[in-house]
Amino acid sequence: MYRRLLVFIVFIFFCLLLSPAIALAGGLADRVQEHQLENGLTVLLVERHSSPTVAAYISFRVGAVNEDSQQRGIAHMLEHMLFKGTTTLGTRDFEAELPLLQQIEEAGAKIDHLRRQADVDTDELERLRARLHQLQFEHRELVVKDEFSRIYAEQGGVGFNAFTSKDQTSYLINLPANKLELWAAIESDRLRNAVFREFFTERDVVQEERRRAVDINPGGKLYENMLATAFQVHPYRHPILGWDSDIQGFSLPAMREFFADYYAPVNMIITLVGAFQSADALALIEHYFGDLPSGVKVPAVTDREPKQRGERRIHVNFDAQPRMMVAYHKPTVPHPDDYAFDLLATALSHGRTSRLYQALVVEQQLVTDVGVFRAPGSRYDNLLVFSLLPRRDVALKDVKTALEAELQRLLSEPLTAEEIDKARRQITTSLLRGMRTNSGLARMLSTYQIIGDWQYLIEYEDRLDAVNPADITRIVTTYLHKDNRTLATLSRGGEQ
């Protein structure tokens, strides 16, 4: 969670990779072992003995999309809290700590309650804040700081981290292969015995995280505004970290409830890639995680985004050079059109011969960069997003017009069979590249399992092969029209 900066950028990265892997079908797919424990826990194992290391992912099929309006940002906050230790780790004496934790919780809750009153008694608020600080100070004496992190580091772990996206929450680490049991012991302990210590301080950390990712970052600010405009109803519209005012409203009881409700084996996937014997690894997982109560599945999101009827625009006034995002609603996997979108996005923006790079960067020289990606998640219908950085002195509206013309050209000069073939090759080769490392492969498998089933990867090549030029023309006509579009711009001052 140290480097879990810009959660959404990571997600964009996912989306780019999301077009699955051909070679997997022929090679690595045979080596993926899938198991389900009796309590519903899904286990994916790939033995790979090229180096004595293991990448371990634990993913939960719960993310920001599963939050309701009372708890926006809570999935991410919970992820932070799960780094704070257990009843045995992170404490000098849990018995002695417990009463202090309760007093801190009470004081903090009182402050939160008071802050929400119409006529705030500022003296009382100050008194409580001083008391909270005093309690926190006393509590520090009993805390062993960031002990998970210290133990993993001492045992050679690297990349101890976690991330929350719209669709999932994942906890990851890479370890020397002889330390697999350490991972099982720590991770099962934190699922069973987590203690949410230092909660009120961590809320401030998340507030700083949000400022860093959104407030001072023009790309983050624009992306957030674009999503909140493109989606009116579906929870994909809300930022993963929550809105600014959500963060100071997080409460411990809500956090515990979310944890108890959703962090259960039926929503959980363990993915291990590296040097181990599968039978041993499975026995280890069974031993440490097998008796967790299965829990109930995360309910499906029932909010439906109404069909967009007319273009939406949003402009952000920000002290930075102009930038622009254009987004269109589209269906997600396993809808067949999603595969056509993979090919289209690649043909438009992957590589220097892609259509948009050629037209907008090289020929018309209107922008320095153009990207096309899916956002913000893949478990529910999502967006195809065009991101453009105009050159200085080029008006945003001219960039928009040029983009429109290129989309129009997809109808007058449809993608040729060669262009589609090139895109297919690019997709499959970049997936191969994503599998070079243990952690890359583990991330890919767990992400697909979250969205549906990792076996999508196996069928994927056939699904891509089935897309023909007429499908591309059809999705352009069906989805990439003005009424289905959100245009988000950012610049100094008013809209250009």
Partner: protein, 470 residues
């Protein structure tokens, strides 16, 4: 027989119950089988015309990765031509070859789904090519062509220049970029390390400059190949010989390093950005890899702010106080000339001055009291036990070996690394902290709401300068 089975069953049940009732052991009290650590072997070659080649095969996936290093880079850009090496890198990447126009070359690479990139850093150009095994022959031919006979297509070269100019226009979009520009200029004024390309330098560069720089640096004796993946070593060597074996070098470039200047007087620089958060960057000159305290310095940095949650900056400023999401220190040893020691973070505007004060105190504390034995042992264990990850990825193994030799690290650098770390003592830590960390010499750049920053600085009677953003 039956009794035995029953007995076994009971024992098994008991074991299960014990295991599940209470974790008798803390996870860090588990014992682990030893890990066998083998230094991966890399095959090294040198061609008759002086190119160095490092190879390692791994055919799990049908991919081949090539990384080339070429001696050259921004340290050699004459002042007034700052940006030349970046421009050369982009011009090579996009400018085609004598045999192929940019469009033809790109078409061929994209059809192969190959990835080609050229970048420049302080002391080298780096070319990365990732290609499917089936396309290796042709890709090698194209790559050799690009190295030896770039076209520098005029339109594309101009486009590449425009791109760098756009970067100048966008240089104030992100506070972190502003802060690092000002810090570098304060510590290394008028030196390639302290300057960035400007509209003036970029517009004054000519295609002749490009051609000359290419001739000067792209010489076989200055070229290093690191190749891994689904390869046959003999085949690779044959291909390199076929496409670049007859490449004769001319006069080598001038590799004199410009001496580092004196830093300006340390001060606090405030730059106004009306944002909800202040970006802070603090730093002074660091060390180079030739410093005998290299490993001790690495450890000190781990303890101070390089060890994530296991470092003091993170523990105090983030975890205890909630003042930052990201706060870290970096003391990356320079390859030849000393580079920077920095502390970097972001915090709410009205927390910035407090964070500055805390950073200084935490550094001072490390200088005065050093580290405890347990803290040192923890840091050492982390560096030693995670060493295996230096060898996890085949291509990283190859490029690491190449890089160490390119920058003339001692031959036994990797082999003695663990020994050197193990030998460090708490006395070393304190001595090195005192020698290399100077809190009163820190240049401090604060980019944020200057109204709040100014008031807080004045309250603390701290001297600062409010500068207009350039």
């Amino acid at each position: 027989m039956k009794t035995t089975l029953l007995y076994l069953h009971v024992v098994f049940l008991l074991l299960l119950v014990t295991a599940q009732a209470a974790p008798a052991q803390r996870p860090d009290q588990l014992t682990f089988p030893p890990l066998e650590m083998v230094f991966p072997s890399i095959s090294e070659h040198q061609t008759v015309n002086g190119m160095r080649i490092y190879l390692k095969k791994n055919d799990e996936l049908p991919l081949v990765d090539l990384t080339l290093m070429v001696r050259g880079g921004s340290i050699y850009d004459p002042l007034g031509k700052t940006g030349l090496s970046q421009w050369l890198a982009q011009a090579l990447e996009t400018g085609g070859t004598v045999l192929l126009t940019p469009a033809q070359l790109e078409e061929e690479l994209d059809r192969m789904a190959a990835q080609l990139s050229v970048s420049s850093s302080s002391y080298s150009f780096q070319i990365n090519l990732s290609v499917h095994q089936r396309d290796l022959n042709r890709a090698m031919e194209l790559l050799a062509d690009l190295l030896r006979r770039p076209r520098f297509d005029l339109e594309r070269v101009e486009l590449a220049r425009q791109r760098l100019i756009e970067n100048v226009h966008r240089r104030n979009d992100r506070p972190a970029d502003i802060a690092s520009r000002y810090l570098a200029a304060a510590i290394n004024p008028g030196h390639p390390f302290g300057v960035e390309p400007t509209l003036d330098t970029l517009t004054s560069l000519t295609v002749d400059d490009l051609v000359a720089a290419h001739q000067q640096y792209f010489q076989p004796r200055q070229i290093w190949w690191g190749i891994s993946g689904a390869i046959d070593e003999d085949e690779i060597l044959r291909l390199i010989d076929k496409h670049a074996g007859d490449w004769e070098g001319g006069t080598s470039g001038d590799y004199t390093l410009p001496e580092l200047p004196d830093s300006t007087t340390p001060r606090i620089t405030v730059i106004d950005r009306q944002l909800s958060q202040t970006t802070l960057l603090m730093g002074h000159r660091g060390i180079s890899k030739d410093n005998p305290d290299l490993h001790a310095v690495r450890l000190v940095n781990y303890l101070l702010g390089g060890g994530g949650f296991n470092s003091r900056l993170m523990r105090e400023i983030r975890s205890n106080r909630g003042l930052a999401y990201s706060i870290y220190s970096m003391l990356q040893p320079g390859r030849y000339l000393p580079e920077l020691f920095i502390v970097s973070g972001e915090t709410k505007n009205d927390g910035a001055i407090e964070v500055v004060r805390m950073v200084r105190e935490i550094i001072e504390e490390l200088r005065v009291s050093g580290a405890s034995i347990s803290e040192l042992e923890s840091a050492k264990k982390s560096l030693l036990n995670s060493f295996i990850f230096a060898f996890e990825d085949t291509h990283a193994v190859v490029t690491q070996k190449m890089r160490l030799q390119f920058y003339a690290y001692p031959d036994d650098y990797l082999e003695t690394y663990q020994q050197q770390i193990e030998a460090l003592t708490v006395e070393d830590i304190m001595r090195v902290a005192r020698d290399y960390l100077q809190p009163d010499q820190l240049h401090i750049v604060l980019v944020g709401d200057s109204g709040i920053l100014q008031t807080d600085l004045e309250d603390e009677a701290m001297v600062f300068e409010l500068v207009e953003l350039d």
